[in-house]
Symmetry: C2
Subunit: 368 residues, 2 copies
């Protein structure tokens, strides 16, 4: 996607030195557009932990690049496995990360030489990026008719789409997951308007989603996370679309905390609620989201302090009594019963085992 008219993806190898990984450092958006170099496994792990890169598909790709950087640092299988474990523990909820790291490890195990391992890891990371990009592109294609249908039903009046957190191109390599159909609809001349949930406490909605929609010229309005229910009650939301950090085989969706509340409101107001994600976000080992998905608890400082911009400088300010404690669960689980459908790179399906396996028939044997 474009930033100030120039094409970018979220992660890539530095052209001048392919032993360095470069990212858009999302910690500084929307105030500053910063490109950061990641030179080691520790750098990648810290970038994931601090959310310089975030979003399920992107942290998967970052994990794969992390394994590649590990092959530059060491040839010891023991050390490589330790590096993989460090990467996987950087964030617990999105399944993409551990999938990608494990797949990368599998690719390098057969290689004996440092060069072989490096080549295999690099090629896997690049292939994964291409794969995820293509998956996001396909999510856009499969999601487009959903928006088109609402637009037609509304006689081409504006389609109001509510989204939570950032599941745009910044969360993936390109195109986005939840936002891929929105961008495609906009590019196809369908009138869309996005209600952007602020998404406390890290404000990925107001900081990242608003920023990328601005860059692409998509009409949007930032709202408090609290406000979506009211808008739905008043008929001001035509559909909700969110990403997923981990989807179970039963169709339960773990996504940014607050997603569940929006799903409940959509359910009670007869508004379709979609989760859009590549298959790399499906955890084939888990059926039931609430007991089985690990929910990341992040630093309470994310609630008690906030970063903003004043006179061009990024400042961190205290926004609560210093002595009060705070608790910061970063995700929640939306049970499938509150989800209208899932949108994946293979198509749209009902959020249940039958629907999902119908799209991913190669999994049927394993599930049987």
């Amino acid at each position: 996607m474009k930033v100030n008219g120039k094409n970018y993806e979220t992660i890539w190898l530095k052209p001048e030195d392919e032993r360095i990984v470069q990212i858009i450092d999302q910690q500084f958006l929307p105030f500053k557009f910063v490109i950061a170099d990641l030179c080691s496994v520790d750098d990648v792990s810290e970038a994931i932990r601090s959310m310089s890169v975030r979003g399920a598909p992107l942290i998967g790709a970052a994990g794969a690049f992390g394994v590649y950087l590990a092959t530059i640092q060491t040839t010891s299988d023991h050390e490589l496995i330790k590096a993989a474990d460090l990467l996987k523990s950087s964030r617990p909820t999105a399944v993409n990360l551990s999938y990608a790291v494990d797949r990368a490890l599998n690719e390098i195990v057969p290689e004996k030489s440092r060069e072989g391992k490096m080549r295999a890891a690099k090629s896997f990371a690049l292939k994964l990026c291409e794969e995820e990009k293509e998956y996001c592109r396909m999510i856009g294609e499969f999601g487009l008719p959903v928006i088109k249908e609402i637009s037609m039903r509304k006689k081409e009046a504006v389609v109001n789409i509510l989204t939570h957190c950032n599941a745009g191109w910044l969360a993936s390599i390109d195109y986005g997951t939840a936002l891929a159909p929105v961008y495609l609809a906009h590019d196809n001349g369908i009138k869309v308007h996005v209600w952007v949930d602020e998404t406390r406490p890290r404000n990925q909605g107001s900081r990242l989603t608003a920023w990328e929609l601005l860059q692409h010229g998509v009409p949007h309005t930032i709202i408090a996370d609290n406000c979506g229910g009211h808008l739905m009650q008043r008929g001001l939301v035509d559909m909700v679309i969110v990403g997923s950090d981990r989807t179970t085989t039963n169709g339960d969706v773990a996504n940014k905390t607050g997603t569940y509340l929006k799903a409940l409101a959509a359910f009670h107001n007869n508004i379709p609620f979609y989760a859009a994600f590549p298959s790399s976000s499906i955890d084939w080992n888990i059926n039931d989201g609430i007991p089985e998905i690990p929910i990341e608890q992040r630093d309470s400082g994310e609630l008690k302090y906030i970063e903003g911009c004043k006179n061009g400088k990024i400042e961190k300010v205290l926004i609560a009594p210093e002595q009060s404690q705070a608790l910061n669960y970063a995700f929640d689980v939306t049970p499938s019963q509150f989800i209208t459908a899932l949108i994946t790179e293979r198509g749209i399906c009902k959020p249940d085992k039958h629907g999902i396996l119908n799209l991913f028939r190669e999994r049927i044997k394993n599930e049987g």
Copy 2:
């Protein structure tokens, strides 16, 4: 209630000069404890508008004091009515404000002299404060058994109570509405712990509720507004209690935006959800909340900027792209079907016409 060990209410006449009204200026909490002088109708209107005073019972009282200040400024009935209109228009959602101002006007109309009007207005404002205080105290008494019962059922383990926004003593004259039963339970040795919703965009939860619970020593934890659903799913919330800015005769409750989302989550997780308010928050003219209650839309700057504290100084920082638009509905309506019961100064009732009129039988004639 106590602030640093000294007793305070939220609004009072300046002892040295009773032509001046004093308030705790809530704009500066929790960073600074500031007492502000209000010397004119304009001062009061601006204090309500800017939320230096807020909370349905408190802005009602402020409105009554505003009429009193008007009687000092003018004897013209025309001017007094203009002053009343200004006060009533300061904030539209809480019905307490227009009730209190209209009642104050009624008190002064029969008086012909400036002194008579002043005396009548002052005495009404002071009486209203006493009345609201007593109502809040009674809400505490009637709400206490609800908490006690949960405590007994849990064999005296901690009762986890979720609240949204600030319906504590800062929102009233003293004691609080939703928090009155919580304080009373705490004072009676029942183990309580409050989940404090941050309450974007003005953060009345993390700024005011946390602060007043700290002052009183009540255990509490600040959470993102997004997080309550997750806590309820995991069995970490025993009850929800909120205030109300306007309750219809059918039991629908307008309260701070986001209340509706918490009510839905409580409903789906079989957690009792209470709204606690004095009768001054009941709008006897309205049955159906969603079409009939005016919902205040506040400045979008409240979403795009935030105030915090750095090195002891209050700073305002930008927290979203400056070019993005934002929309800021300050309240929402929770339909009565999602409310377990209403707690008023007369007792607890089901959230429907029968339940409410059973407590306020003097209204039955009017309603018939």
